[in-house]
Subunit: 160 residues, 2 copies
Amino acid sequence: MKIGELAKATGTQVETIRYYERAGLLSETTRTEGNYRIYGETHAERLSFIRHCRSLDMTLDEIRVLLRFKDAPTENCGDVNALLDEHIGHVAARIRELRTLERQLKGLRDLCQEAQDAAHCGILNELARQGSEGGSSAAGHVHGAHGRSVERKAIKDKRK
Amino acid sequence: MKIGELAKATGTQVETIRYYERAGLLSETTRTEGNYRIYGETHAERLSFIRHCRSLDMTLDEIRVLLRFKDAPTENCGDVNALLDEHIGHVAARIRELRTLERQLKGLRDLCQEAQDAAHCGILNELARQGSEGGSSAAGHVHGAHGRSVERKAIKDKRK
DNA sequence: ATAAACCCTGTAGCAACTAAAGAGTCAAGC
DNA sequence: GCTTGACTCTTTAGTTGCTACAGGGTTTAT
């Protein structure tokens, strides 16, 4: 099948498939005379594996490790367990961070119950205070509060 | 004070301060004869405000909105409340997502209790299965499972 | 024959920085 | 006066995991 069909079969975007090839997650395929990539069932399975891992929020580096084990079926899979345990640890850590964050935000929100002028807004005044040192940057690899949504808006990074 | 002193005073990196200036969060300052930026107390306060917001995982866009209110103290601050409510909603949504993810990962982990050869590893076999459609991409802006840690390793994006 | 639908490569953009190159400035010590 | 070192400047590129072009070529259907 051609790349568009593979894309449809796995629910992946065409560009993402080519990106995975460049990133070394999918090997380069044979091409048609017209230079089109051709894929078979094994490619579809491998891509499904990758997408499944991604839906579990693993990084491409982590997935590379898992793929190495899939490609060497006689190896001992103890490292797979370890990788997964570590990943679970990261997720748990991020949940704890976000819970703390949620508490802080709710506390902040309580400082201004009804709309008034900004000069007396408890929220703005509190945010202007010093301190508050330790942010939420833990050792894990779970992202901050802002996910992969579609609210891109063009940054005004105005360097002439 | 010079940029290094401001950096020390607020616990911010020098490059980050210059980045905020480019991004329009800090206005351009006066310079010395030798072209060094000079800051006063108001700059330190504004930067503290920004860093405080960042420690609460707000985006620079959200902070821009808050700064606009700080700069216009007679405006009604109802939008501040709304912004904060929305942000709290995003955090709460991300926590729910990560809890689901954690459950899935733990279920996966249970499939392989002790190390064996990869061909019979329940984890790898499960990940190779089809399906698992809906990932964790909700509407909010809270990041995935991998945070702002220091585990960068150079991607092998081998384009010749 | 030609238009539409697909495919190709290469490059730039997103968030919020971080790092490094290459150059200039300033104060202190000899 | 001159050097050394610490600081600063601008500009550019890297990080993650894509996404979206531009500017072409190929295939398929009419």
